[in-house]
């Protein structure tokens, strides 16, 4: 069974919500839709206080290349446009909408009937995806239409669908594949057309055997799509790792996947592409997992964007007793939340409750130079060295030791027997070194 060739760990999977049917979360009374979803330039609001909006109506227009349209996820009246603390801990401009009924734009096809035919041209597909405000739903939220438009001179020859879901606890992609398998394959075909490739591989980790079998069955009716079972190993969902696992090519340092002829799209994104292109439905809702060892009702919920996480968590039984930390996203790369009064964004894949005992980091001891961080690093770096260089402000040395290649997967900190905060220091160093590199570039 294939997997990536360097480093990696295998945290306890804890997929408590696996196989739990996707439940439609209740419509909230108010939504707060951020005008930027983690990455890229914030979009510009095109509604003002008092405007009446329908579900799917454009409320924020993309601003520049790395930016995405934002649509209303509910119908109702715009209450205000104000700043709101989001799940990443930053204040962002957001549109507050008071919900009134559930009236959708007429152009959106709300039937559940699967529409397989797509006769649109490559340009029309990309335009539709761009209009629908689709971004990568794996977490980085990079605008999808940009990824579908390779720089001049570069040509993709394979599309890779990232259905790895290597983070513990999260099951939203898994459940989506079980329930919307055919739609995902149609979405894949559409993406293949947009990229003009005739080969696509859907990479799924082997702990989702039912999804693998299901999609393999369905894929028989789709030309050029292969479903590949991958050995369970974190961080296989990392773009570079997944490409290495599937086509045995390693994207060069500082380059993007197109360099080796690959484009990677998340499986949730692929479903959103299907809905956008075939059903005219913009990016207004997504599936998220609510889970944790003590979660009363771990499950997968279809949630409208801008819903307060607290409202979804309440429907899943509330915050369990003894919770020490609440993570937005998976436990390896997610962010710990200050509270649940933050809106659901396009990249919100889950809420995970961590028990108090597990939340507190153990005391840091001396580095015993066991080299386990080096062994597990999927990028072939030396975390122990980067940490000590970061502690000593040795930025040039950090750059020489390839710190910018770090994908911040956290395998080093996870493994360290001395509980050293390796990634904290590396991240800090990366930010500084990144600034130095940008400065140098502008001076030239």
């Amino acid at each position: 069974m294939k997997t990536f060739r360097m480093g990696g760990i295998h945290p306890k999977e804890n997929k408590f919500s696996a196989g739990k049917q996707i439940q439609v979360a209740e419509l909230p009374k108010q939504v707060v839709i951020p005008l930027s979803h983690y990455i890229g330039t914030p979009s510009e609001a095109v509604v003002k206080k008092g405007d009446v909006v329908k579900v799917g109506q454009l409320i924020g227009k993309a601003n520049g290349l790395i930016s995405a349209n934002v649509h209303s996820s509910v119908s109702g009246k715009v209450n205000k446009i104000d700043v709101q603390l989001d799940a990443t801990g930053y204040k962002r401009s957001a549109v507050y909408i008071d919900v009134d009924g559930d009236e959708w734009l007429e152009t959106i096809d709300r039937s559940t009937e699967i529409k397989r035919e797509c006769n649109l041209s490559k340009e029309e597909i990309i335009r539709k995806i761009q209009d629908a405000g689709i971004v990568g739903l794996g977490g980085a939220t990079f605008p999808t239409h940009v990824k579908l438009s390779p720089p001049p001179g570069k040509k993709a020859n394979i599309l890779i669908i990232n259905a790895v879901e290597c983070e513990s606890y999260l099951t939203c992609d898994h459940q989506l594949m079980l329930e919307k398998g055919e739609e995902i394959l149609v979405g894949t075909t559409i993406l293949m057309k947009a990229l003009e490739v005739n080969r696509a591989v859907i990479g799924i980790e082997n702990n989702k055997k039912d999804a693998i079998v299901h999609l393999q069955q369905l894929a028989k009716n789709f030309k050029g799509i292969k479903v590949e079972a991958l050995k369970v190993r974190y961080p296989q969902g990392g773009e570079k790792q997944l490409i290495d696992a599937i086509i045995r090519r390693q994207v060069p340092s500082g380059r993007i996947p197109i360099e080796v002829g690959a484009v990677v799209q998340n499986v949730g994104t692929t479903y959103a592409v299907y809905e956008a292109v075939q059903k005219n439905k913009p990016m207004i809702e997504r599936v998220m997992t609510i889970s944790g060892k003590t979660a009363p009702n771990p499950g997968n919920y279809l949630v409208r964007l801008g819903t307060y996480l607290a409202s979804v968590v309440d429907q899943a039984g509330g915050i369990p007793e003894g919770t020490g930390k609440i993570v937005g996203g998976g436990p390896m790369m997610g962010r710990s939340l200050m509270n649940l009064n933050v809106p659901m964004a396009k990249g919100s894949s889950g809420v995970v409750f961590i028990r108090k005992e597990e939340s507190v980091r153990k005391p840091v001891k001396n580095c015993i130079r066991c080299a386990k961080c080096v062994t597990v690093c999927p990028m072939g770096l030396e975390p122990f060295l980067l940490m000590s260089q970061s502690e000593r402000n040795m930025w040039d040395e950090m750059e020489d030791n390839c710190t910018m290649d770090c994908i911040e997967c956290g395998s080093c900190s996870y493994t360290c027997p001395s509980n050293r905060p390796l990634l904290d220091y590396i991240r800090f160093g990366k930010t500084t070194v990144g600034g130095i590199i940008r400065n140098r570039a502008t001076k030239k």
């Binding site: 436990p331 939340l337 015993i368 130079r369 030396e382 027997p417």
Partner: protein
Amino acid sequence: MDKLIISPAPHIHGGDSVSKDMTGVIIALVPALLVGLYFFGLGALVVTLTAVASCVLFEYLIQKFMLKGSNTVMDGSAALTGLLLALNLPSNIPVWMVVIGSLVAIGIGKMSFGGLGNNPFNPALIGRVFLLISFPVEMTTWPRPVPFSAAYLDAETAPTTLAMIKDHFGEIPSTLDLFIGNMGGSLGEISAVAILIGLVYLLVKKIITWHIPVSILATVFVFTGILNLANPELYASPVVHLFSGGLMLGAVFMATDYVTSPMNPRGMLVYGVGIGIITVVIRAFGAYPEGVSFAILIMNAFTPLINTYIKPKRFGEKVKI
């Protein structure tokens, strides 16, 4: 609800700890220790208990009264140093020498550099080499293996295989005896099979990787093989070299010491080959019949250099410019 904890990712930890790793190595040493106790009886027991107890005690005292740091003896590394030191000593060595060896190992070898993680040289080997140079007679007089022996200081002595090879006398034990450990030697080094069981355990538990032990053993095998082919009269066969002296113990347990060995697979291979070559050079051409301890200490000194100049294989294809 109580306040939530905020921290950067990752939010979970694998549960590995220093004491788990140390305990793992100690468990891996149990087979070798049992063979030592079987062949050397009472003497082996006394030496082992003395070394472990004095290493732990010295670390505790130094930490408490000199470094005034937090108590570190519970991480198990002092006990491991004591055990490794004992396994590198003849079982008929007087107790007071064991205590001195432990003091040098812990005090000079480890704590003077700031404790676990900071020492450039393997502490147990510092202790052993100090004793070897200070008390050459006691350190090179090995008892004859007698199952369940009750003898200690008065044990009947026997030469090691390597001494026989060096000075061309006696009958080299059969390969089977070399393999199971029925021969003269230090307390824990005699049985290749017991040490290999320990190696399997270390590899399965992912406490160490294969690079260091395999590169050392392979280098010694190839190098002594060449010498043996060139002159079988003068140089023993590679199999005898592999299974005699401290090579197995050194390759599996001493050279793989976390703190003093290189930090990436490529560096580990260079380090291992270096140890192998130096060992054979000392065994074949040096004054001492055995050279594993010296070889490891010499390569320990090269470890920072190896870490600086030999980098792990980075992810990513090279871009043609």
